[in-house]
């Protein structure tokens, strides 16, 4: 129920959002690589967030480990804030950027607040019967490594084409959580 050009567009929007919003500094190099297979086992924990529209819901998941590299990248830059708070905020900004771009095509959209779960629950992602599911490996400055899962469940035909150009310069949707 999701056209190829729509999934391509979603993936393009997702990549742009992650590259623009996940790095904590604008100078950081963020590589987003599409994985051939879905990675439910990646990371110990996940930050989950949902964007809902009348026709579909998009589930965006950031897989992370509280390892030395991740902690070094996230916490050292921020200071006293906990790793979890940093990642919740960063992923919220990513989803806000995706939401912002999707609004151009779907005027009725809403975004949830982020929630942290154990990564084990991702083994059951198929039970949500997603029409589109993709996994990505994310590497920032060659040290901090994450994974991401993008899933879309549609109740109607979803078809649109997002532009190829860069993300609109907004700060995304600010959420208090």
């Amino acid at each position: 129920m999701i056209s190829i050009q729509a999934t391509d567009s979603m993936e393009r929007i997702f990549r742009r959002a992650v590259q623009a919003r996940l790095p904590l500094s604008a100078d950081d190099n963020c590589e987003v690589t599409r994985q051939e297979s879905v990675l439910p086992h990646a990371g110990e924990n996940v930050v989950m967030l949902t964007i809902s529209s009348i026709m579909f819901r998009m589930i965006m998941v950031l897989h992370f480990d509280e390892d030395v590299n991740t902690r070094a990248y996230c916490v050292d830059l921020i200071g006293e804030v906990s790793l979890l708070d940093v990642l919740l905020e960063a992923w919220n900004l990513c989803c806000g950027a995706v939401n912002q771009e999707l609004l151009e095509f779907f005027p009725d959209l809403g975004m949830s607040t982020p929630y942290v779960l154990g990564a084990s629950c991702m083994h059951y992602l198929d039970e949500l019967k997603p029409d589109y599911l993709a996994s990505f490996a994310i590497e920032i400055n060659g040290c901090a490594r994450f994974a991401a899962t993008l899933g879309v469940c549609a109740q109607a035909t979803v078809d649109f084409v997002a532009n190829e150009t860069a993300i609109t310069e907004t700060n995304g949707e600010l959420e208090l959580f």
Binding site: S52, R57, L109, G110, L117, C121, Y124, E127
Partner: protein, 240 residues
Amino acid sequence: MFEQSLLSALAGAALATLAGGTFYKLKVVRSIAVLRGAIAQQEGQLLQASEREATQAAQHEAAQLGLANDLSRLQRELVVKSDALSDAQSIINAAAADKAQWLTQAGKIAGEAARLNALAATFERWHEQMISLMEQNQDMHAKNQELSSIVRHVVIVSLNASIEAARAGTAGRGFAVVASEVRALAARSEELSKSYRDSLHRNDLTTTTTFQDIQAGGKMITASLGSVKVLADQFQTTLH
């Protein structure tokens, strides 16, 4: 001589008189001719004037007829225009009534949209309930982990019991059977605990995604209601 002179004078006078009379007669005739010519000229002028007047009268009559036709046409047009004006007035009156009604309706829509914005409180309640539900899930995860730990301990105890029963030889046979049963029960408990843990993970995902869908949907509805209210307000402003 005198007589002759008198006669001559008389003759001369007669001749003069005759000549004068003839001259006078000629003059009169000439005057009559002149007068006749003048009369004829006057008659011609009068005839021309009469003809002009007749032409002008005809033109006036034609103009009068044209004016009468125009007047008649204008009267008909006036009737038509008057009817149209009356219709337009009716339409304007109806539009004014409609406008008042629309104004009321726009006010109601804006009011309803503002009232429905209170749905945010409902979404907030769902959020709190979801947090509560997830906390219960976390609690069940912790208890299940504790149960799993106990089961593993029971397995070790049952293994030790089997070893001790074997050491006891014949006397420990009965105890060995019990230890074996306990180990089997522990193994089943372990399986159950794993299954329960998987169910909890599945439950985590389902609960979270469902709740997030509800939460995001709620925000979508709130935003849409906000747009409806803005449009209704704009409509009201335009009608004012």
